[in-house]
């Protein structure tokens, strides 16, 4: 879980703070359509799955995103 959060921080270029599994990542200042592509690539690289765009959009927390990845694996 810690590793997942680190990877998310890296993909979204978050450098100044810690993030939590309960965070709604789409409310981050760093969240935009460009960083979403980084997130998609990170998930492909680390977990070897592709999370559909509408699934990413409908996740309301990092936990939900994490669960979605586990489901696809």
């Amino acid at each position: 879980m810690k590793e997942f959060l680190e990877k998310i921080k890296e993909a979204l270029e978050i450098e100044d703070r810690d993030i939590q599994m309960t965070d709604n990542f789409k409310e981050y200042d760093e969240w935009d359509s460009l960083n979403k592509l980084s997130l998609i690539v990170m998930i492909d690289e680390e977990y070897d799955v592709q999370v559909p765009d509408d699934k990413v959009n409908s996740c309301s927390s990092l936990q939900e995103l994490y669960d979605e990845i586990q489901k696809l694996k």
Binding site: S33, L34, I40, D44, Q50, P52
Partner: protein, 352 residues
């Protein structure tokens, strides 16, 4: 399995024409804040693009490229008996643009000429089509022309597509010769994903009306476009490429028993720099073997593979070389090819 193998067909030469008008992407700030533009441009890697004038068409670019190539190689127009034009921005809905080019280029009336309507995969499809005709042995020489004016397709007020696309035209001269050896092609289609890159209206399902050309705000980011502008779902296009392209790559390698270590160059469709860098990494291909023209010309759809060859590999294709080509996009449609190069000529890029 749609895998193809050809013998002793190859590319005698490549040429390209681009519009003289250079768009500096960092200064493409009429509709967006300059700091946002910088962030987008840095990530996608498209520093400059070329835009046609209102009057210029895909055929004009291909006409210039084809003339340059035939003149440079001193090939008689009489010897061309097949002309294939690949584009999704043809001059007219009818007739096919290839036919007007037969006349403009001064080719014989017994030339076979037709259009293929495909985007980013179009060079692979066009090349395999021409190779298949050539394999019959009944043709002297063939021209494959790829032309696109994507600047006329996308809304400049939709940040998802405003910075990516550019215009260009290329010509490739194909002939039979034993020196070319074997070539291999793999091609695929997934119509279930047709919504990922699309122009909704202006065809014959949703014909043009006053409403279809009306611009409107389409999302929470304030992007503006009409139903006759191109739409791209970037996230899912990414997912599609990451899922399908590596599989196809492996399929062709196994079919052709291809040694990727000794392959000289891997020329990918120039979608954006971010995607291609990751794709090279995922395919375990050294980035030195992956030429990129994305910074100069942006994404030119089916033109991007031959344009990259002309722009980046001039002087590097002397002697015997091998190229692995991969095109993927609108359709969704994708394919790859492994071809041998034997002293292929590359013209200087023409500006019109």
């Amino acid at each position: 399995m749609p895998l193809l193998k050809f013998n002793n067909v190859g590319i005698r030469g490549f040429s390209a024409a681009v519009p003289a008008t250079v768009i500096n992407n960092y200064e493409y700030t009429e509709f967006f804040k300059s700091e946002d533009v910088k962030e987008v441009v840095d990530k996608i890697g498209v520093k400059e693009r070329r835009f046609v004038t209102h009057e210029q068409c895909s055929s004009d670019l291909c006409y210039a490229a084809a003339n340059k190539l035939l003149d440079d190689l001193n090939v008689s127009r009489e010897d061309i008996d097949l002309l294939v034009f690949v584009s999704q921005t043809p001059d007219y809905r009818m007739p096919a643009t290839a036919i007007s080019l037969q006349d403009r280029l001064g080719l014989n009336k017994d030339t076979i000429a037709f259009d293929i309507s495909l985007g980013c995969s179009g060079f692979i499809y066009g090349l395999s089509t021409v190779y298949a005709y050539m394999q019959t042995g009944n043709f002297k020489k063939a021209l494959l022309l790829n032309g696109e004016t994507r600047s006329k397709v996308y809304s400049p007020k939709d940040r998802k597509t405003a910075f990516l696309f550019g215009d260009g035209g290329t010509a490739v001269l194909i002939e039979n010769d034993e020196k070319y050896g074997e070539s291999f092609f793999s091609m695929n289609s997934d119509g279930a994903l047709s919504d990922l890159i699309k122009i909704e209206a202006g065809g014959y399902r949703n014909m043009s009306t006053c409403e279809t050309v009306e611009e409107r705000v389409v999302d929470e980011y304030g992007n503006i476009r009409s139903a006759e502008h191109g739409v791209m779902k970037g996230g899912d296009v990414f997912n599609f490429v990451l899922k399908e392209v590596p599989k196809d790559f492996k399929k062709l390698i196994s079919f052709g028993n291809i040694d990727t270590n000794s392959t000289d160059y891997f020329v990918f469709h120039q979608a954006n720099d971010f995607m291609n860098s990751y794709l090279a990494k995922k395919l375990k291909v050294s980035i030195d073997k992956v030429p990129s023209s994305i910074a100069k010309f942006g994404n030119t759809s089916s033109v991007s593979i031959p344009l990259t060859i002309v722009s980046e590999l001039r002087g590097k294709l002397e002697g015997n070389k091998s190229l692995f080509l991969s095109g993927f996009g609108v359709g969704m449609s994708w394919g790859c090819a492994y071809i041998k190069i034997a002293d292929s000529y590359i013209s200087h890029i023409v500006e019109i």
